[in-house]
Amino acid sequence: MGVAVESRDQALVESPIVFDVAGLNVHYGDFHAVKDVGIQIRRNEITALIGPSGCGKSTVLRCFNRMNDLIETARVSGSIRYHDVDLYGSDVDPVQVRRHIGMVFQKPNPFPKSIYDNVAFGPKIAGFDGDLDELVEQALTQAALWDEVKDKLNDSAYALSGGQQQRLCIARAIATSPDVVLMDEPASALDPIATLRIEDLMQGLKENYSIVIVTHNMQQAARVSDRTAFFTVDMEETGQRTGVLVEFDETSTIFTNPGEKRTEDYITGRFG
């Protein structure tokens, strides 16, 4: 089928659930973006959300750190339990949510500040009172960027290459010691070598964090993830398009023995 998958002798160990999503629906105004999604994100695993454009995979990702709150017309219903707390409960502060759940965006978006300030901003506003220099070094080291930037921490982040900028964004996301890192097509704007570095990096990060990655690159999902959720676009009776979850399983199963015809069509490239 053209997609290489590491062979696994045994099923994945069922590590504790971080996010438990059930009956998730997202509307943007009248537009029903995502319909009845249910998945579980587990600790120290990489979960990939894949599917064609408009299938709602990014929308689902942005529910995990309440980024959709920033869109006025967005309406989220259903249940997302994060460590068994209702993420959308009325007493939950979205700012606190985002301190525990870091995010890396599709296009590298460093702040127009120095490399150092990019990493230090999150901990600073969170009231970090330890050794900031050490924290910055740790985060940059974890993001495999330290050796390249240690002599120019006060240079503008915009002086870095695209791949370096994205690793800086990863360092920025992990500098607040999050529990989960969300990645929204983190390598889509990067060349293959920079992409490979990000993928290698994710394998290391998974020791400390739980990672959810959105990608429309199936090979990438196959290479890096432990579990894969396949989304697609359905036509509703009204003629509106809406995103639905087709199948969610271990990555090896999705890519070698998918349970649904639509999944198989997509991953073998026969999709619409």
Binding site: M67, R99, N109, F111, F121, I125
Partner: protein, 318 residues
């Protein structure tokens, strides 16, 4: 026809059409017309400037800085712009103090906090309309409201002034330039990419922290340019000042202290240009008024120039 001859034929056709560059008279005429239009516009400006400078030259040659440091006088050989310059600077400072925070605050609210609904769009449209209201209308507002208000709160100065002073003028002109500041600040904020805001929220910043640390600093060069241009507008504004009682005749400012200068009778550079150009003594009209215009222009050029330098320095940092 074989493939090979076809290729040869194509090459011959291409070669033939490439040769013989043609002259395009309509295109050349169009370009020449555009150039002419540019030259006419420039010529008008240059004539205007030259006329002013030639008129002003004798004043600066004969009196040098004395013209700048002398107060107003009925005698054309001792009259200077000092009183007017102080008045204009005082007004502009008050404009800055009043209009900066109000304008930038309003812009931040409109761009970062206000929901995107019919009311917000209505407000934005009308702020644009306000920027187009003739300045004399603001003069009437200033006379009806700010002159009285300033007098009412005890800053009106002596009875002969009764609120027609630098403070009332500053507030009036602040209101006049407020729409400009709101519009340019809004545009500067809108130009900050949303990805920067998302990045800020993504690391757990509150809305205030995102604005304070990222959106405002990123928009600062644009806001700065807009506000300096607004100040320059206020510095050169004449019509509203005439309505709210700027002195266009002689008065004695003498060695008044700061408070008296703020609350007492005042004049401003554009008002002095107007009053001098109406004097019977031709020296006032032909030399002193142009010289006052030169002073006005120099201040404006310096202000705009420093805005550009400040902006460039700020932008170069990141």
């Amino acid at each position: 026809m074989t493939g090979r001859t076809e290729t040869l034929d194509t090459a011959a056709v291409v070669r033939a059409s490439l040769r013989g560059r043609r002259f395009n008279p309509a295109g050349v005429a169009f370009e020449a017309t555009l150039l002419l239009m540019l030259l006419v516009s420039l010529l008008i400006l240059v004539t205007l400037l030259a006329d002013i400078v030639i008129g002003a030259l004798p004043v600066f040659r004969d009196r040098g800085v004395d013209f700048v440091t002398s107060g107003i006088s009925l005698d054309s050989s001792t009259a200077g712009v000092w009183t007017a310059l102080l008045g204009s600077i005082g007004i502009t400072l008050i404009v800055a103090v009043v209009a900066f925070p109000l304008g930038i605050g309003a812009a931040v609210y409109l761009e970062e906090y206000a929901p995107d609904n019919a009311l917000t769009r209505f407000l934005q449209t009308n702020i644009r309309n306000l920027a187009g209201v003739p300045s004399i209308v603001y003069g009437l507002l200033g006379l009806a409201v700010f002159v009285r208000l300033v007098d009412l709160i005890g800053l009106g100065g002596p009875d002969t002034t009764a609120g027609r002073n630098v403070i009332a003028a500053g507030i009036t002109l602040a209101v006049l330039v407020l729409p400009i500041i709101i519009i340019t600040a809004s545009e500067a904020l809108r130009a900050v990419p949303d990805t920067i805001r998302e990045a800020g929220f993504g690391v757990g910043a509150t809305q205030w922290e995102v604005i304070r640390h990222h959106t405002l600093p990123a928009a600062a060069p644009g806001i700065l340019t807009g506000t300096v241009l607004a100040l320059a507008r206020a510095f050169g504004e004449t019509a509203p000042l005439l309505v709210i009682g700027v002195a266009t005749g002689f008065f004695s400012a003498g060695s008044a202290g700061l408070f008296d200068r703020l609350t007492g009778t005042y004049t401003a550079l554009p008002a002095v240009v107007l009053s001098w150009s109406r004097q019977a003594d031709p020296v006032f009209k032909e030399n002193l008024a142009p010289a006052a215009i030169v002073v006005l222009l120099v201040v404006l050029f310096v202000a705009n120039g420093s805005a550009v330098i400040l902006r460039n320095r700020y932008e170069r940092r990141w």
